[in-house]
């Protein structure tokens, strides 16, 4: 679907942006036409988020121009962009959890009088919701919504504010597969109504499924442009990474037939934990992770995944039951002790849970390594850098600059740093929550590879994921979590996606295979 005659809704020409030594955008041209979904691809740190923030007036480019309907515009702030009909959904939602959907949307609408009639806004929300398939309860509190519904609220916000160009930075990163399908249906309606959508993602099959045009970036430059017919996963991968790029992950054929070790690496016995607020209480969990085993945990979001991880980490106390690590009762161990005895932990939101944005990458690398690099009152930075360098190369990740603040890293680069740090000291147990979220295909492959290597080396892995394909590929055993309890357990290869799907949504009784 090309538009040789019509003018693009939004166009950027020759955009460059430098951050210190990094040229985040280098002479980028991009045009967005009405009625198209335009996918923006590229490896981690390629400059996608930078470009989208420039198009939204959030970041000022060093050079280049932005044209709206063919006329140059000067975007000083997101407010300017919104006034011109450009809207953006950031990777991290900007909703206020304590307010209702209606209030969140109303706050965003600049044309609203100081005293507004809620009913009028409600009317508009319902109208738009039905028109675009974005039905949400206007009176629901945002904190009670699933991520998928929050995503809908974000998009509704833009539509009600009369945006014609929608920029979505990795909108599917935290969505469950069925939510992705729903989002793509929304895209179809928006397209039919002439909206223009810029869609950033790392999931190439999504791109092939829904994009009309594709722009691939690499190291700040546009590497290539394709239309929907020309794109298949292999071409895209080659464009993103150059020759020798990684292919889509393929399921491992080899299932190492490890003799089941007598002593599990980690065990929960009848473990429960209380919950406050919007948390999910854990009910009587029996989980055992053997040496040389990857245990997958499937479940829709909010089934207790975060709480399970935090229970293992020691952040959340057990209310009943016990916790065992390599044969020792670890029920009351501190987080420091758990980590020092060889537990690596990749949390679901590394920016919030595992990084200090204001400190340098180097300093972030030393956090959480316990006393390994202590040298008197100081830190042995050289030893740290050597060890971390090895860890990065074991993952085939490029080592980022160590001096800039952690917060300046791109989403995927931050995830890489956290993973490299956690995997640096031969962990006995890896607890990984959605570890490949936000990573480009090649990095995701390396992470999966490394998790397998941990397993093959006799370690244990607990892989919590919403991606059933990833779990099918990785897990030797699969647990299904529903409402804080284990709803089902399967051996590798014995389960079917449909069956698991039912258990995940609680629509079927526990079924042990």
């Amino acid at each position: 679907m090309t538009h040789p005659v019509s003018t693009p809704l939004l166009e950027v020409r020759g955009i460059s942006k430098r951050y210190g030594a990094v040229l985040a955008n280098d002479q980028v041209d991009l045009s967005l036409y009405g009625g198209e979904v335009h996918a923006l691809l590229g490896e981690n740190g390629a400059g996608k988020s930078t470009l989208s923030k420039i198009m939204y007036g959030f970041t000022r480019p060093d050079s280049g121009e932005i044209l709206l309907g063919g006329k140059p515009v000067d975007l000083h702030s997101p407010r300017d962009a919104r006034a011109l009909g450009i809207g953006m959904v950031f990777q991290n939602f900007l909703l206020i959890p304590a307010l209702s959907v209606l209030e969140n949307i109303a706050l965003f609408l600049t044309d609203l009088p100081p005293i507004f009639r809620r009913e009028a806004v409600e009317q508009r929300i319902r109208e738009f919701g039905e028109r675009f398939g974005l039905v949400v309860d206007p009176w629901a509190q945002v904190r009670q919504l699933s991520v998928g519904d929050q995503q809908k609220v974000e998009i509704l916000k833009l539509l009600l504010a009369q945006a014609r160009v929608l920029i979505l930075d990795e909108p599917t990163k935290v969505l469950a597969p069925h939510e992705v399908v729903a989002l793509f249906r929304v895209f179809e309606v928006l397209k039919a109504e002439g909206y223009s959508i810029l869609f950033i993602t790392h999931k190439l099959r999504e791109v092939v499924a829904c994009a009309d045009r594709i722009t691939v970036m690499r190291q700040g430059r546009v590497e290539g442009r394709l239309t929907s017919g020309q794109a298949d996963v292999d071409t895209l991968v080659t464009m993103m990474f150059g020759e020798g790029g990684a292919g889509e992950p393929t399921a491992t054929g080899t299932v190492p037939e490890q003799p089941p070790s007598t002593l599990p690496i980690f065990e929960l016995r009848g473990a429960s934990s209380k919950a406050t607020g919007s948390e999910t209480p854990l009910k009587n969990l029996d989980v055992s992770i053997g040496a040389g085993e990857i245990v997958g945990v499937a479940g829709v979001s909010g089934s207790g995944q975060k709480e399970l991880g935090d229970l293992i980490l020691g952040l959340r106390p057990l209310s009943t039951g016990s916790k065992w690590f390599c044969g020792a009762d670890a029920s009351s161990w501190t987080i420091a002790r758990i980590r020092e005895s060889g537990v690596a932990f990749v949390p679901e939101d590394p920016l919030v849970m595992a990084a200090v944005p204001g400190m340098s990458v180097r300093e972030n690398l030393v956090l959480g390594t316990g006393r390994r690099y202590w040298k008197g009152a100081t830190i042995n930075w050289r030893a740290l850098e050597v060890a971390m360098g090895k860890s990065f190369s074991a993952l085939a990740f490029p080592v980022p600059g160590l001096d800039p603040p952690m917060g300046a890293l791109s989403g995927g680069n931050l995830q890489r740093v956290v993973i490299a740090r956690e995997m640096a000291h031969k962990p006995k147990l890896v607890v990984a929550l959605y570890p490949t979220r936000g990573l480009d295909v090649r990095s995701a492959l390396s992470v999966r590879d490394l998790l397998r290597r941990v397993r093959d080396g006799g370690g244990g892995v607990l892989l919590i994921s919403e991606d059933l394909e990833e779990l099918a590929e990785m897990a030797d055993r699969l647990l299904v979590l529903y409402g804080g309890a284990i709803a089902g357990e399967f051996k590798r290869g014995v389960w079917q996606a449909e069956q698991v799907g039912h258990l995940m949504t609680g629509s079927k009784e526990a079924l042990h295979a």
Partner: protein, 349 residues
């Protein structure tokens, strides 16, 4: 390497910009204060000229600046250190009083000790006094019971009362019964003073503390852990940093430093324990730390500036017949302008 040069140039220009900004803030505040002096029927130019001649351009005046800087530096670091963990210590004044009280207790209880024991003893006691006053809010905060801002604030009201109780009661000097104060400390407990001025060894302690503060924060693993807590407490906890322990330690050390300031006042200046031994040094320390963004050099500069401003209070009292408290107007103006200029991005960083 062109990049390195570019980065260096960037840093320099940034430093220049920041200095210019501070100069501008001071100029605006001085102009506004001049308007107030005018309104009060005084001559602002003469007031400023007097202030200048009696402080910077005069050896005695200058020595008094150093005297004032001594407690101000300590009181500022007492706020700055906890602020790096995201803690707000507004209890400097109370911690200062308790430090003075404990140091006095040491001096009064062991009057016969030689200086080489007694002097370190009163220093340690002064530190401990403030540290206790800081640790109480620390423990309450670490246990998630009471916010440290409230607790440190409230303890400010108690510490001076403890001091009053002792100087009206058990420690009241018999020789000067008209005036509530303790008897004079033994010479061995007094901090040595220099150059026939009131400058005393406390200034060395203050400067050493400022240097240590910088070293610890920037060069040690403890600094890394504390800054991590300030930067993202949730991540720090998840990464196994003992957050609760650090909260208590940081507030205790902060309190201890304010306590040292109180010790310096009684052992270096007054020679006895008295009421009103601090004209709000603890609070001024908070302003200094805030305006300096917790940065060591900024603290040094701001403490100097505030020493001038508070000296100006004395000068104006004598030369212009204005009450000392007019300088509070000037202080408030500086704070106001700085706060108004700062983008709403949370506290000092």
């Amino acid at each position: 390497m062109p990049e390195a040069r570019m980065a260096a140039a960037l840093r320099t220009s940034q430093a220049v910009r920041i200095s210019l900004r501070y100069a501008l803030v001071c100029a605006v505040a001085l102009a506004m204060f001049a308007a107030i002096l005018l309104a009060a029927g005084k001559d602002p130019l003469k007031a400023y000229a007097d202030t200048f001649t009696y402080t910077l351009a005069n050896a005695y005046g200058f020595s008094e600046l150093l005297v004032r800087m001594t407690p101000l530096l300590l009181a500022a670091v007492a706020v700055a250190l906890p602020s790096r963990l995201g803690l707000i210590n507004v209890g400097g004044e109370g911690q200062l009083y308790l430090g003075a009280w404990m140091a006095s207790a040491g001096a009064l209880m062991f009057p016969g000790l030689p200086a080489w024991i007694l002097l370190p003893l009163v220093v340690v006691m002064g530190f401990l006094g403030g540290a206790i006053w800081g640790a109480i809010p620390g423990v309450l905060r670490a246990a998630k019971l009471v916010n440290e801002t409230i607790a440190t604030l409230l303890l400010n009201y108690i510490a001076p009362l403890i001091v009053s109780f002792f100087i009206f009661g058990p420690w009241r000097a018999v020789d000067s019964s008209a005036y509530p104060q303790s008897s004079a400390f033994p010479e061995a407990a007094r901090l040595p003073s220099f150059f026939n001025t009131r400058i005393h060894a406390g200034i060395l302690i203050s400067l050493a503390v400022l240097l240590a503060y910088w070293l610890i924060m920037e060069k040690t693993r403890w600094g890394v852990e504390m800054r991590a807590i300030g930067g993202n407490p949730e991540a720090a906890q998840r990464l196994g940093i003992p957050v609760a322990v650090w909260i208590v330690i940081a507030l205790a050390i902060g309190g201890g430093l304010a306590g040292l300031a109180g010790m310096g006042e009684v052992m270096g200046i007054h020679g006895r324990l008295r009421q009103g031994l601090s004209p709000g040094y603890g609070f001024t320390g908070f302003l200094i730390s805030w305006l300096a963004g917790g940065r060591p050099l900024g603290i040094l500069f701001m403490a100097f500036l505030f020493a001038i401003i508070t000296s100006a209070g004395d000068t104006l009292q004598i030369t212009q017949g204005l009450p000392y408290s007019v300088v509070n107007i000037l202080l408030a103006m500086i704070l106001f302008i700085v706060l108004a200029r700062r983008p709403a991005r949370g506290t000092a960083k």
